[in-house]
C-alpha cells in the first residue's frame, strides 16, 4: 500500500502554480496524506482506458435527465427579463404601472430595486441587450406579456461598438474608467525581434481577422432560486457550482454556507457558464421578495445577445525565417474589442509557445466596446491565435517552397520556450508522424474520390496546437463504500456533457478494484459534496481524477483492514478485482459484499485530494489536424471532406468519450472556420443575428469524415493518473487547417474567417484581377 503515516509535517500547506486557460495562478495546496504511485504506460489497467458508454446515457435518451429549466418547486414563479434596445444612453422614464396589473404578475424589479452588489438594472445603458427590468409571474407566458407592457424611454448617447471607434480620439466613454483594458497594451517579449527579422532570409507579413463567435449552448443560461429563511438554494446550469455559490453570497451579502448551489444535468457550457449571472440574481432577488421559488431562464435572443462570446481579433503577424525554414522572429500585434467587460484572453500566448524561436514579441490592445461582454469560449485566445500563427506558418511554407509539415518539425521545441522549462511530456512529433500517415500527407489518400463537378477544386492543409492542461489543486473527493457494497464517488464537480461522471467512476472502480456497475458518481451540490474548482480549461480530468483515485485507494485500505481479520491475514497480502478481495497467491477470497455485510452499518469513506503540480514543468496537450476541402469556384461554397486529428493528451481514460469530445471540438472549429459570425450593426449598435437560423452552427449536413486518434501513453510526470485534458485542444487547430486547405484549393489565402462564399469569391476574384 502506498500509504504514508500521517505524522506531523513541517509544511502541510505549500503553494503551487495552476494554469487556467493560459492564465497562471499561484494557489495554496494542502499536501495529500499520501502520494499514490503513478499509473505509468506499463500499468495494467482494465477499466481505465476502456471505451465505456457514458453512465448517465439512459437518463438522456429517455428524457428523464433533469436540467435547470426542468426544475419545478411548489408555487414556483417564472421570470422574464426586459433588455435595453440601445447601445448606450440613459433611461429617461420607466413606467411599469400597467405591467404590474396584468394577470398572473407577482412582482417586478427595475432600476434601483436590486441590491447594489448584484449590479442589476442601472439607469445607464452600456450595451444593447443589457437587462433593464425583470418580472415574475405564474407562467412564463404571463411574465413575457408583462415585460412587453413596461414603458421605458431612453436618451440615446453616441456609442462605440468597434475597436476603431472605441479607440478613436474623443471616443464615447464606454466605461468611465477608460476604454482600454487595463489602460495599456499587454506586451510580452523575448529576445530581439528586430535583430531576428534582420537576420531572416524571408519575412512574411499578414493581417488576419477573426469574428465574434457565440457559444450557442442548446440549454440557455438559467437558474431557479428558493429561500428557506436566510438560506438560499440555487439550481443553476453552470460549469462551477462553488463559483456560483461565491458570486451569489458576495452579491447578496450572505455567508457562503447559507447558499447551496445544485447542478444535476446541463445542456452545454463551452466556457460561458463559469459563474452567476443576471438571471441568477434576478431569480434570487425575486424569490426573496415574493417568498416563492422563482425560475429565470434566458430566452434564445437573450442568450445569443448577452451570455458571452469569443471576441473578435485583428492580428498583424510578421514572421522571419531562414531559407531552410528556421524561424528567426515572430511578431504579432493584436486589436481585441472585448465588449463591456472581459479579461486578457487574447491571441498572443500560442505565438510564444508552439515553436522554437528565440525572438518573439506580442502586443495586445484590449478595448471595451458597447456590446455584451466576452466570456471564455473553448480554447479562449488560442483558437484565435492559432488561426493567425498557423495561417502565417502555412504561408511561410508556401513562400519557401517547403512542406508545411516539415516546417513545423524543423521548428519543434523540446522545451517550453516561454518559461524555459521542460514539458511533463510532449509527443507532438509522434502526432505529426502518425497524422501524416493516416491522412496520406502531402497527397491525401482519398484523392481518388471524383470531384462533384469540374468547377470544384480540392485542397489540403494542416495546423498544430498546444494548450495548458495540467489542472491542479484544490480538489477534494470522497469514495464511500455503502452497506450493500455499492460505491459512491462524492465530488463537487460538474458534467457539462463531457462525461466526467463516467470517467471519475472508472478511475474509482479501477483504483478500488470494484466492478464499474457498482460505482456511481454523485456530483453537482455545494452543500453535501467536497470542493472542486470549475470545469474549465480542460482541467477536470487532471484536477479531480487524482483526488478520486486517492480517495478510492484510501477506501480500499480501510476495506482491506476489515477483510484482513476475516481472512486471518494482513492487509498487505490482499488485492482486489471485480469487487472481490483475494489473498495473494491463494484461493482464499471474500467479496466486497461479504465484508460490508459483516461490518453491518459501518460505512467506509476514503478521502482524497489533489496534490501540487510538478515544479517548473510545462503541462500541455499537443496535436495536429489535417483537413481536406472541396471549394466550388462558382459559388464560393466550401465543403470540408475530411479531418484527421491526432493529439497527445497523456492517458486517455475513456477513448469512446474522448473521441466524442474531439469530434465536437472539431465541428465547433468547422463552424468557426466557415459560418459562425455575430453581426453587430455599427450604426445601430445592435446584434442583427440573435437566432439559431441567422447565427449558423454546423448541422449533420456539414459533417466531414472525422478520424480521431491519440498517441498512446501516460504522462506520469503531470499527475499520478497520467491523464491531461482534451476538450479545448480539439477546437484549436481546426480553423487554420481548413483555411490552409482552402488556400491550397483556390491558390490564394483568405485572411478573414469565417470563409463565407463572399469572402472566398472575393479572394478568387483578386487572383483573376492580378492576372489581368
Amino acid at each position: 500500500m502506498p500509504r504514508k503515516p500521517k505524522g506531523p509535517s513541517k509544511s502541510r500547506f505549500v503553494s503551487t502554480v495552476v494554469e487556467i486557460e493560459g492564465r497562471s495562478e499561484t494557489r495554496i495546496v494542502e499536501l495529500p496524506a499520501f502520494d499514490p504511485a503513478p499509473w505509468t504506460t506499463d500499468s495494467a489497467l482494465s477499466i481505465v482506458g476502456a471505451s465505456i458508454p457514458r453512465m448517465d446515457a439512459a437518463e438522456k435518451v429517455t428524457g428523464r435527465a433533469r436540467y435547470t429549466a426542468d426544475i419545478t418547486r411548489p408555487g414556483m414563479l417564472f421570470a422574464a427579463i426586459l433588455r435595453a434596445p440601445i447601445a448606450r444612453g440613459k433611461i429617461r422614464s420607466f413606467d411599469a404601472t400597467i405591467a404590474k396589473k396584468l394577470p398572473g404578475v407577482f412582482d417586478l424589479i427595475g432600476p434601483g430595486d436590486a441590491p447594489t452588489k448584484t449590479r442589476l438594472f442601472s439607469n445607464s445603458i452600456a450595451y444593447a441587450g443589457q437587462p433593464v427590468a425583470a418580472v415574475c409571474a405564474s407562467s412564463e407566458a404571463a411574465a413575457v406579456r408583462a415585460i412587453h407592457a413596461i414603458v421605458v424611454e431612453y436618451d440615446a448617447d453616441p456609442f462605440a461598438v468597434t475597436f476603431e471607434s472605441a479607440t478613436a480620439p474623443n471616443a464615447p466613454k464606454v466605461r468611465s474608467s477608460g476604454n482600454l483594458y487595463p489602460n495599456a497594451p499587454f506586451i510580452v517579449t523575448r529576445g530581439d525581434v528586430t535583430a531576428g527579422l534582420a537576420a531572416a532570409d524571408i519575412v512574411i507579413e499578414r493581417v488576419y481577422h477573426t469574428p465574434v463567435a457565440l457559444h450557442t449552448a442548446l440549454e440557455p443560461h438559467g437558474a431557479a432560486a428558493e429561500w428557506e429563511g436566510d438560506r438560499l438554494t440555487v439550481w443553476e446550469s453552470t460549469q462551477g457550482i462553488f463559483r456560483v455559490r461565491a458570486d451569489v453570497a458576495r452579491a447578496l451579502d450572505l455567508p457562503l454556507s447559507n447558499v447551496r448551489v445544485i447542478k444535476d444535468y446541463m445542456g452545454g457550457g463551452f466556457g460561458a457558464k463559469n459563474g452567476a449571472g443576471a438571471h441568477t440574481f434576478i431569480a434570487a432577488v425575486l424569490a426573496k421578495r415574493t417568498g416563492r421559488a422563482v425560475r429565470c431562464i434566458n430566452d434564445r435572443e437573450g442568450e445569443q445577445i448577452d451570455s458571452g462570446n469569443r471576441p473578435a481579433t485583428t492580428q498583424r503577424v510578421t514572421i522571419g525565417a531562414k531559407k531552410n525554414g528556421t524561424l528567426t522572429a515572430i511578431r504579432m500585434i493584436a486589436d481585441v474589442p472585448l465588449g463591456i467587460s472581459g479579461w486578457e484572453g487574447g491571441p498572443a500566448q500560442i505565438y510564444h509557445e508552439l515553436y522554437a524561436c528565440k525572438n518573439v514579441h506580442t502586443e495586445e490592445t484590449f478595448a471595451f466596446v458597447n456590446a455584451s461582454g466576452m466570456q471564455a469560449f473553448r480554447g479562449p485566445g488560442y483558437v484565435e491565435g492559432a488561426f493567425g500563427l498557423e495561417s502565417a506558418m502555412n504561408e511561410l511554407a508556401r513562400k519557401l517552397h517547403l512542406d508545411p509539415l516539415s516546417l513545423r518539425k524543423k521548428n519543434f521545441t523540446k522545451r517550453d520556450p516561454r518559461k524555459d522549462r521542460s514539458y511533463s511530456g510532449n509527443q507532438l512529433p509522434e502526432c505529426y508522424e502518425h497524422g501524416a500517415r493516416i491522412f496520406g500527407w502531402p497527397k491525401p489518400n482519398t484523392t481518388t474520390r471524383p470531384l462533384a463537378a469540374t468547377r470544384m477544386r480540392r485542397g489540403s492543409g494542416l495546423a498544430a496546437q498546444i494548450w495548458p492542461t495540467g489542472g491542479g489543486p484544490p480538489s477534494y473527493a470522497q469514495v464511500r463504500i455503502n452497506q450493500d457494497a455499492t460505491v459512491d464517488v462524492l465530488v463537487g464537480t460538474q458534467d457539462l456533457g463531457t462525461g466526467s461522471r463516467t470517467i471519475l467512476a472508472q478511475i474509482a472502480a479501477e483504483s478500488l478494484g470494484a466492478q464499474l456497475k457498482t460505482v456511481r458518481s454523485i456530483i453537482g451540490d455545494t452543500q453535501s459534496l467536497p470542493y472542486t474548482g470549475n470545469s474549465w480549461g480542460s482541467m477536470t480530468t487532471a484536477s479531480v481524477g487524482p483526488a478520486v483515485r486517492m480517495a478510492a485507494i484510501d477506501a480500499q485500505h480501510q476495506l482491506f483492514d476489515a477483510a484482513a481479520s476475516m481472512l486471518n491475514t494482513t492487509p498487505d497480502t490482499l488485492e482486489a478485482r471485480d469487487s472481490r478481495i483475494v489473498v495473494r497467491d491463494t484461493d482464499r477470497s471474500l467479496t466486497f459484499a461479504e465484508v460490508t455485510a459483516a461490518l453491518g452499518n459501518v460505512v467506509l469513506v476514503g478521502k482524497g485530494s489533489r496534490g501540487p503540480n510538478p515544479e517548473n514543468a510545462a503541462i500541455n496537450t499537443f496535436g495536429v489536424q489535417f483537413a481536406e476541402v472541396e471549394v466550388d469556384l462558382d459559388t464560393g461554397i466550401v465543403r470540408v471532406l475530411r479531418i484527421v486529428a491526432v493529439h497527445d493528451a497523456g492517458r486517455i481514460i475513456n477513448p469512446l468519450l474522448a473521441a466524442s469530445q474531439m469530434e465536437g471540438g472539431i465541428l465547433q472549429g468547422l463552424g468557426y472556420a466557415l459560418f459562425e459570425e455575430r453581426i453587430l450593426d455599427p450604426r445601430l449598435g445592435i446584434v442583427m443575428n440573435p437566432t439559431m437560423h441567422d447565427y449558423k452552427i454546423p448541422t449533420m449536413m456539414d459533417v466531414p469524415t472525422i478520424e480521431v486518434s491519440f498517441i498512446a501513453g501516460s504522462d506520469a510526470n503531470a499527475n499520478h493518473t497520467g491523464a491531461r485534458g482534451i476538450a479545448e485542444p480539439a477546437i484549436i487547430p481546426t480553423a487554420p487547417a481548413i483555411a490552409a486547405a482552402v488556400a491550397d484549393a483556390i491558390g490564394i489565402e483568405v485572411l478573414e474567417i469565417p470563409l463565407t462564399p463572399w469572402r472566398v469569391l472575393s479572394a478568387i476574384a483578386a487572383i483573376a484581377a492580378a492576372k489581368g
Partner: protein, 156 residues
C-alpha cells in the same frame, strides 16, 4: 379538449396562444421535450403528432383536439428501451443530452417512414436537429446501426 399523449388520454384547457410544448412541459410535466430556440430552428422540441414530426414550439395546443402525441417519454418499449435509445447509448450519441430527445424522435420518424435510409437520407432527415456538442457523427452511427437491424428487441 382531449389529447392522447404516449397512449394516455389527457383533458387540457390550453390558453389560446399556448403551444404544444408548453402544454407538454408545464401541464403534463413531460419535460423530456426541450425548449431551445422557440421558433422552429433547432429541432429540440420535436414530437410526433398523429405520427408526423412537428416542432412542438410552433404547434398550438388548441389546434390539437383529439390528436395523438408521442414524446421522448413514449419512445421506449414497455419493458425495455427502444432500439434507437440503446443504439444512442452504445455509440455515445448523447453528450450534454439536451438535443437528444428531439434527435431520437426525429430518427424514430425517419426509420418509421424509411426503414432502409441511405447515409444521405439520414443526413437530410436529421439536418433540422441542431447539436452544439457536435455529436452528429455518433448520432449518424447510431441511426445507421438501427437501420441495419442492430439493437432490435427481438434480436438474439
Amino acid at each position: 379538449m382531449h389529447l392522447t399523449v404516449n397512449g394516455r388520454v389527457h383533458e387540457l384547457r390550453p390558453a389560446s396562444a399556448e403551444t404544444l410544448l408548453e402544454s407538454l412541459r408545464d401541464s403534463l410535466a413531460l419535460t423530456g421535450t426541450k425548449l431551445v430556440c422557440d421558433r422552429g430552428e433547432c429541432g429540440a422540441c420535436t414530437v410526433l403528432l398523429d405520427g408526423e414530426i412537428v416542432y412542438a414550439c410552433l404547434t398550438l395546443s388548441a389546434a390539437c383536439e383529439g390528436a395523438t402525441v408521442t414524446t421522448i417519454e413514449g419512445i421506449a418499449e414497455p419493458d425495455t428501451l427502444a432500439p434507437l435509445q440503446r443504439a444512442f447509448i452504445a455509440h455515445d450519441a448523447a453528450q450534454c443530452g439536451f438535443c437528444t430527445p428531439g434527435q431520437i424522435v426525429a430518427a424514430h420518424a425517419l426509420l418509421a417512414a424509411n426503414p432502409r435510409p441511405t447515409d444521405a437520407d439520414i443526413r437530410e432527415a436529421m439536418s433540422g436537429n441542431l447539436c452544439r456538442c457536435g455529436t452528429y457523427p455518433k448520432i449518424h452511427t447510431a441511426i445507421r446501426a438501427v437501420a441495419n437491424g442492430e439493437f432490435r428487441t427481438d434480436a438474439p
